[in-house]
Structures are given as structure tokens and as C-alpha cells.
């Protein structure tokens, strides 16, 4: 108990002593993590809307719910031997149910009232060339047992490319900023150890354990990282609400996109974790020079 009081007191004295450096450290952690968390959230949103169009899938052929097994199999065989088709993935009733659950995770009542048998089976098709998409659609749309064929819209495809570029840019930016926040924390801790070098000298002399000397400084870096990450967490949550409003607008071209609380919480936890790591690692590096026995 005496130790805990000591650690808490020492940590906050030190944080106060270097107020400007502490704020700078917190702000850079916050800004870099906001960017990082933000881009993850946007990516997650887009991923939900475009899941089926990944890995070169350009069209999806939905069978009628009433289609017989033979009809389903016949379409599969035909697709496999079709020279315009590069590869296919078959989604049976259960796979369709899984997709459905993900798509309507926010509406448990709807999931409750749906059984796998009510959902159509489908083939996801990767054409040999994107230009063949329309040709394939026409070839299959009226076949026996086929309900409908949907194709990836050009808009969505273009959006995906743009998002990918933005994502790379932001991840690089966030990484650079995270690195600078690490340096700032290292520096803050160095200043703190320098300001207290006499105390540290005495502590080592009277036989304080290395951990005892280190903990207040580690805690200082940790607190900075976590406060910065806390701010970022708040910002990510705010962004989640903004995106939520935007994509639920009925006329939006992105109304198939969704953002879920699970995404926001997961990203928030990741952001907090990174913040804590940056703080702790930063102080560990900052401490190395002064604390050699």
C-alpha cells in the first residue's frame, strides 16, 4: 500500500513537472491514433458493403430458393467448364445464412425469423477478364433455376481502388506519427530521469530495486500513451456516429455499407492497446541510459 501511494505520487509529480512535454506526447499519440483508428473504421465500413466483390469476384449468380439440387449442380458444372470463367465459389444455404447474419447483425429479430432454407444458394464468379462480366451475365440469367445475376457496379469498383490508396496513405502517415510520438515520450522520460538523477543515484545507492526505480517513469509513459489513446478512442466513436448517419441516408450510393458497434469497439480497444504499448516502450527506451546499474 505504501508502495502504491509512492508510485502514484511520484508519477503525477513527474507528469506535472514536464507539463508541456507531457501534453506534446499525449497530443501526438492522440492524433496518430485518430488517423489510424479512423482509417480502420472507414475500411471496415467499406469492407462490409463490398465483401462479395473481393478477390476479383465480378458477379454473383443467385439460384431460386425452389431450384432443385440437379439444377444447382448443372449451373456449377457449366460454370466450371466455361472458358470465360476463371474460378467460382459456391455458397450453399448455410454459407448464405452466415453472410445474412453478418449483414443484419443489428437486426436480431430478422435473423431469428430466417432459416437457411429461405436463403438462395449462389455462385460467386471470377471472370478471366473483367470485360467478360456482361457476357457471362447474359449467358446465365435465364438458365433453369437461376433467379438473378448481380454484377459489381463500376462505381463500387472505383471506390474500392480509391479507398485502398487512401488507406495506404493514412497507414503510412499514422505510422510516421506514431514513431514521432514514441520519440516524444522517450524524450519526456529522459528529461524526467535527468531532472531526478540525484534521487535515482541515491535510490540505487541505498539498494532500491531496479523495478522500484523504474516503475514511476514507466507509469508516466504509460499514462501519456493511454490518455492519448483515450482521446483517439473518443474520436473514433464520434466518427462511427458520423459514418453511421451518412451511410444510412436512403439515397446514398453507399447504403449497402454499414458500420457496427462491434467494429468501433474492436478498433477502440486496438487503439488503446497501441497507445499503452507506445507509452510503455517509449519510457523503457528513455530509461535505458540512466538506469544502468
Amino acid at each position: 500500500m505504501a508502495r502504491l501511494t509512492y508510485f502514484v505520487r511520484e508519477t503525477f509529480i513527474s507528469l506535472r513537472r514536464n507539463v508541456m512535454m507531457t501534453i506534446a506526447g499525449i497530443m501526438t499519440v492522440a492524433i496518430s491514433l485518430v488517423l489510424f483508428g479512423g482509417i480502420l473504421l472507414v475500411s471496415a465500413t467499406v469492407d462490409h458493403g463490398t465483401e462479395r466483390w473481393k478477390h476479383g469476384v465480378d458477379l454473383e449468380i443467385f439460384m431460386k430458393v425452389t431450384a432443385s439440387d440437379q439444377q444447382v449442380k448443372a449451373i456449377g458444372d457449366e460454370l466450371r467448364s466455361d472458358p470465360m470463367v476463371k474460378s467460382i465459389t459456391f455458397l450453399d444455404h448455410n454459407a448464405a445464412m452466415n453472410e445474412f447474419k453478418k449483414d443484419f447483425a443489428n437486426q436480431p429479430a430478422l435473423i431469428e425469423s430466417t432459416t437457411p432454407e429461405n436463403l438462395p444458394e449462389s455462385y460467386r464468379v471470377v471472370p478471366v477478364k473483367a470485360e467478360k462480366t456482361e457476357q457471362i451475365r447474359i449467358a446465365y440469367k435465364d438458365q433453369l433455376g437461376v433467379d438473378t445475376v448481380i454484377t459489381a457496379e463500376q462505381q463500387v469498383k472505383r471506390l474500392l481502388t480509391v479507398i485502398r490508396a487512401i488507406r495506404i496513405f493514412f497507414v503510412i502517415l499514422a505510422t510516421v506519427l506514431l514513431a514521432s510520438s514514441l520519440f516524444l515520450i522517450v524524450n519526456t522520460i529522459r528529461l524526467a530521469t535527468f531532472a531526478r538523477r540525484r534521487e535515482i543515484e541515491v535510490m540505487k545507492l541505498v539498494g532500491a530495486s531496479n523495478w522500484f526505480v523504474r516503475v514511476p517513469f514507466m507509469a508516466e509513459g504509460f499514462v501519456q500513451g493511454v490518455i492519448g489513446a483515450g482521446i483517439a478512442f473518443g474520436a473514433v466513436w464520434f466518427l462511427r456516429v458520423v459514418i453511421g448517419n451518412f451511410v444510412s441516408h436512403p439515397n446514398s450510393i453507399v447504403n449497402s455499407f454499414r458500420v457496427t458497434d462491434t467494429d468501433a469497439i474492436g478498433i477502440g480497444i486496438l487503439v488503446l492497446f497501441i497507445g499503452a504499448m507506445i507509452g510503455t516502450v517509449g519510457s523503457a527506451i528513455g530509461l535505458r541510459r540512466f538506469l544502468e546499474v
Binding site: A2, A208, F212, V293
Partner: protein, 228 residues
């Protein structure tokens, strides 16, 4: 209590600080370590604190080879060795009481121990009335008493003093030596490095003299200059 076995210490650039030093100091002894600057006195003390590790030979404290001590065990060694310096090394932002209490707090002693031990030790060094003063408000002799109190508050087996009277006038020096003598009489082994001829002559204790890293004299009831 302390045992050096053929200890050699070579610093970077082939500077030989100690050469084949062998000696033994038993529990409860009071030993003066004398010799000119650069003779190896400081290295001797640093080896005992494991601030440095010997290049060859063994240094044993209470039967343990401290050169082979893991880094994490060094603190427990230092808890058994009190240390006093010429420049006191007191913390200027803490009061006399806090300076002494600090030594107990940072090794995790509980509050009730701190509350009983610190006043006791301040009484021993004669500074009970100055407990709430800051080091800058004290004379040099008083500051050194605080530093001795801090070194001794944890009741170490060994007290090392590196030129503890180097900054003090003769009258104050006598007081400090009386205090060290008192601490020695409680059974604590005291090793004191000094240049002060008068102290050594007056105390008539064992004298170890170093010169260029070698032991040139080991006299049971020695004086400063004789024998060289």
C-alpha cells in the same frame, strides 16, 4: 566480512587501478584506507558496491562472490552496505527527516517502520531538532550527519565512507569521527577512505595503504605516514 582474493582491476585503455590485491576485513573492524589520489581507493570502494566488477580475482562480502552476482541481486547487496560521501549527496528538495526516510521508503519498508526508525537514527546523530530543516539550512558537519543517518538507518553490516571529512573543518571532523566510532561499536564494519593524516593518527585503527593499485602496508594499529 570483506575478502579480496588476488583482485586486479583494469579500466579501459589499460589503466591498472588495482593489482593482485588480497586482504581480509573481519566483522566489526574499523579500517582506514589511505594512499595518494589515483592509488585505487575509489576503485576499492566501487568494487565493494559492485559499481565496478573486478577484472581478475574475487571480491567476497559476507561469503558471497559479488562479482558473480546477478544484476537483480545487486540491490540486496547494497542494502547491506551503507555509504557516505565527501559531497553528502543529500536531496535538496527534501527535509532532513524526508532524506533519511527516503532510504527506507525506496526499499519498500512499511510506514510504521519508517516512523519509528527515522527519529531514532536522527537522535543517534544528534539532529532530532533539525528534522524539519532543509539540507541547505544546515552546516557541513550537520549535513554529513544526515548522510550518515541515511546510510545507517537500514542497519547495514558494512559502512563505507569515502573522504567523509574532506569538506569539513577539524573541529567538525572530530564530531563525525566520534559518530563513526559509535556506529562501529554497534558491530558495524566501517571502511573509511581518507587523506586526513590527523584522524588516522588519532584513531589508531587498522590502516591499509594503497599505492599504484598495490597494498603497500597493512598495519593493525597504524598511523598515516609511517612505513612508506
Amino acid at each position: 566480512m570483506i575478502r579480496f582474493e588476488d583482485v586486479t582491476k583494469v579500466y579501459k585503455g589499460d589503466v591498472v587501478a588495482l593489482r593482485d590485491l588480497s586482504l581480509e576485513i573481519v566483522k566489526g573492524e574499523f579500517v582506514f584506507l589511505v594512499g595518494p589520489s589515483g592509488s585505487g581507493k575509489s576503485t576499492f570502494l566501487k568494487l565493494l558496491l559492485r559499481d565496478e566488477v573486478s577484472t581478475a580475482g574475487r571480491v567476497l562480502v559476507a561469503g558471497r562472490d559479488i562479482g558473480r552476482l546477478g544484476a537483480w541481486k545487486v540491490p540486496s547487496l547494497r542494502r547491506n552496505i551503507g555509504c557516505v560521501f565527501q559531497d553528502f549527496k543529500l536531496l535538496p528538495t527534501k527535509t532532513v527527516y524526508e532524506n533519511v526516510a527516503f532510504a527506507l521508503e525506496v526499499i519498500g519498508r512499511p510506514k510504521h517502520i519508517v516512523r519509528t526508525q527515522v527519529p531514532q537514527i536522527l537522535d543517534l546523530v544528534g539532529l532530532s531538532k533539525k528534522a524539519e530543516n532543509f539540507p541547505t539550512e544546515l552546516s557541513g558537519g550537520e549535513q554529513q550527519r544526515v548522510s550518515i543517518a541515511r546510510a545507517f538507518v537500514n542497519r547495514p553490516l558494512i559502512l563505507l565512507a569515502d573522504e567523509p571529512t574532506g569538506n569539513l573543518d577539524p573541529a567538525t571532523t572530530v564530531g563525525i569521527m566520534r559518530l563513526l566510532d559509535r556506529i562501529n561499536r554497534t558491530g558495524t564494519t566501517v571502511v573509511m577512505a581518507t587523506h586526513d593524516q590527523r584522524i588516522v593518527d588519532a584513531m589508531r585503527r587498522r590502516v591499509l595503504e594503497l599505492d599504484h593499485g598495490s597494498l603497500v602496508r597493512d598495519q593493525a594499529r597504524g598511523v598515516y605516514g609511517v612505513g612508506t
